[in-house]
């Protein structure tokens, strides 16, 4: 944690710099979305990589996760694991669970 005045002055500079970097990457995100890549999925992938990079800057610098107490990393490890699990829930929509349960046969 930046506590001494010198350190705080230093961090103010860093904050402003990161603000500019985020703005520039926002322009890049918008620009890239108009580039016709071979598939739209690639556009999605590139867009999400840029967004993840911006999010990482916010989390690491603005939310100072680059130097935080151990406890917070422990909390966030669980958070990340469950969040990632959430994003893959849609795979269950690919199959109809009623088929396996015999629902349709018994209703014929």
């Amino acid at each position: 944690m930046a506590d001494s005045p010198e350190e705080i002055y230093k961090s103010i500079k860093k904050i402003k710099l990161i603000g500019w970097v985020l703005a520039v990457f926002t322009v890049i995100t918008v620009g890239l979305s108009y580039v016709e890549l071979p598939t739209h999925s690639l556009n999605m992938l590139v867009g999400m990589i840029v967004a993840a990079f911006k999010a990482a800057l916010v989390a690491l610098i603005f939310m100072h996760l680059n130097h935080e107490a151990k406890l917070i990393y422990k909390i966030l490890a669980f958070t990340a694991a469950f969040a990632i699990a959430l994003f893959f829930l849609f795979v269950f929509s690919a199959s109809d669970p009623l088929v396996f349960s015999g629902f349709y046969e018994s209703n014929q």
Binding site: A2, D3, P5, I8, Y9, S11, I12, I15, K16, I18, G19, L22, A23, T26, T29, V30, S33, Y34, E36, P38, T39, H40, N43, M44, G47, M48, V50, A51, K54, A55, V58, A59, F62, M63, A69, K70, L71, I72, I75, L76, F78, T79, F82, A83, L86, F87, L89, F90, S93
Partner: protein, 449 residues
């Protein structure tokens, strides 16, 4: 009792307590938004329509992104200046942050409002016409003298309630009604309760669960109603939502639409879309559409000779979704430099377009399969758009309230214990950054990709 460890770190965690608290809260917030992002993935993977890309106002979304980034910087600067005890600057930056929240919500409300007044009409062949309804959309039904009401003795989904469902739709003065016995009444809650009791008593005598009440109005009635306010209608009868049937004549159920777009992506043969029939947009707009389409296809082929145009969502949109920005079709010369000049001229035309410079079509009810404004009813994209941005907007408001409290109501703490207030601002700032973090993903997912 004082709350412990508001300034100094607790020995076992190494943190002041509020920080542990806010991170636990943010972890739960990640779960909340994670679930909704998961829904976004699910809806997008399963969408059976063309998922909108670049359909929202990218400029406004872009400005809002910058506003949030700027506010993320100012909230940190407020904290840093408080740490340095530069109180004036601390207050200024915190105020700027709250101002940004206001600007964000203001821009968001402009975006929302334009969606509420913009409509998409799906024709029976799958064509979508988009535009504005200059007079709204209402069904007119007139020459009504006879009303038949059905009352139920047991609780039922549809039970006569003319005071709520019929009377409000009458155009002009509400006349008196004659009952079957010839008595002239003013239809209101009390008189209807009496009629209802009589009808049910009669029904009970003949062993039925439902009774009917026939009413004759002394003057012919005209009804005007949004389609959602009634159950259904035909040429000579209209059924209200309470089951009451009116006999009369359908006067008007045509929809007047100021068209600003024709989306033929779901039509097998775009040239045969209903939109081009002579009573709607007609030959000249069809020619303009074909010119734009062929131009887009030729350009795609030239730029990407090895790619399948069917698989390019942006190309499909460019070729088969005609945007209309003038009341009459542009001269069909979409080649070379002229086209660019024309496109530019069209962009300038946007301001005029807002004043009704669009072709107007009068749609027959039989050609309309579905219509909605750009709200969750239209499709799953707008459902998740409003859910995600609405919830995000609530977070922006909540963040502004918390930071506003520190600015306007924490003067005592600022004087007596500035270090504790600095920690408060830091924790509020962490929440604020999380709100920004969510938007960093929302902007590309909803506006750009």
């Amino acid at each position: 009792m004082d709350i412990p460890y508001t300034v100094t770190a607790r020995p076992d965690t190494g943190l002041y307590n509020a920080k542990v608290g806010i991170w636990l809260f943010l972890a739960s917030e990640v779960m909340l938004f994670g679930g909704l992002f998961s829904s976004y993935i699910f809806l997008r993977v399963g969408a059976d329509y063309h998922w909108p890309v670049h359909e929202l106002d990218v400029r406004l979304g872009f400005i809002n992104t910058l506003v949030l980034i700027f506010s993320s910087v100012t909230v940190l600067l407020a904290w840093a200046n408080l740490k340095l005890r530069k109180i004036g600057k601390f207050k200024l930056y915190l105020f700027l942050t709250i101002l940004c929240a206001g600007a964000f919500m203001g821009i968001k409300s402009i975006e929302y409002k334009s969606k509420f007044s913009h409509y998409a009409v799906k024709l029976t062949d799958g064509t979508f016409l988009t535009g504005h309804l200059p007079h709204g959309y209402e069904i007119k039904f007139g020459d009504v003298t006879n009303l038949t009401l059905t009352v139920q003795s047991q609780t039922a989904a549809i039970d006569a309630d003319p005071v709520s469902y019929v009377l409000p739709l009458i155009q002009g003065e509400v006349p008196k009604f004659k009952t079957e016995s010839g008595e002239e009444i003013t239809l209101d809650k009390d008189s209807f309760a009496k009629l209802r009791a009589d009808a049910l008593a009669k029904a009970k005598e003949s062993g039925k669960n439902s009774g009917t009440i026939k009413l004759t109005s002394v003057a012919p009635l005209t009804f005007q109603a949004k389609p959602t306010k009634i159950l259904g209608y035909a040429a000579t009868a209209l059924t209200f939502r309470d089951g009451t049937v009116a006999e009369g004549k359908l006067l008007d159920d045509k929809m007047t639409l100021e068209v600003d777009g024709v989306d033929t992506r779901s039509v097998p043969d775009s040239e045969k879309s209903l939109a081009w029939s002579s009573q709607y947009l007609g030959e000249s707009w069809k020619k303009a559409f074909i010119a734009t389409r062929d131009h887009a296809q030729a350009e795609f082929k030239e730029k990407y000779p090895n790619r399948d145009p069917q698989k390019s969502a942006t190309h499909q949109k460019e070729a088969f979704y005609l945007k209309i920005k003038s009341a009459t079709p542009p001269a069909a010369e979409p080649h070379g430099e002229d086209h660019k000049a024309e496109a530019k001229a069209e962009e300038h035309g946007d301001a005029h377009a807002a004043h009704g410079h669009h072709p107007e079509v009068v749609l027959e009810k039989k050609d309309i399969a579905f219509y909605s404004n750009y709200t969750p009813k239209l499709n799953t994209y707008y459902a998740i758009y409003f859910t995600l941005t609405g919830l995000h907007g609530l977070h922006v408001v909540a963040g502004a309230l918390v930071l506003g409290y520190f600015l306007f109501f924490d003067g005592k703490m600022l004087r007596n214990d500035p270090e504790r207030l600095a920690n408060r601002v830091e924790v509020g700032g962490l929440f604020w950054h999380f709100v920004d973090l969510v938007w960093i993903f929302l902007f590309p997912l909803l506006y750009l990709l």
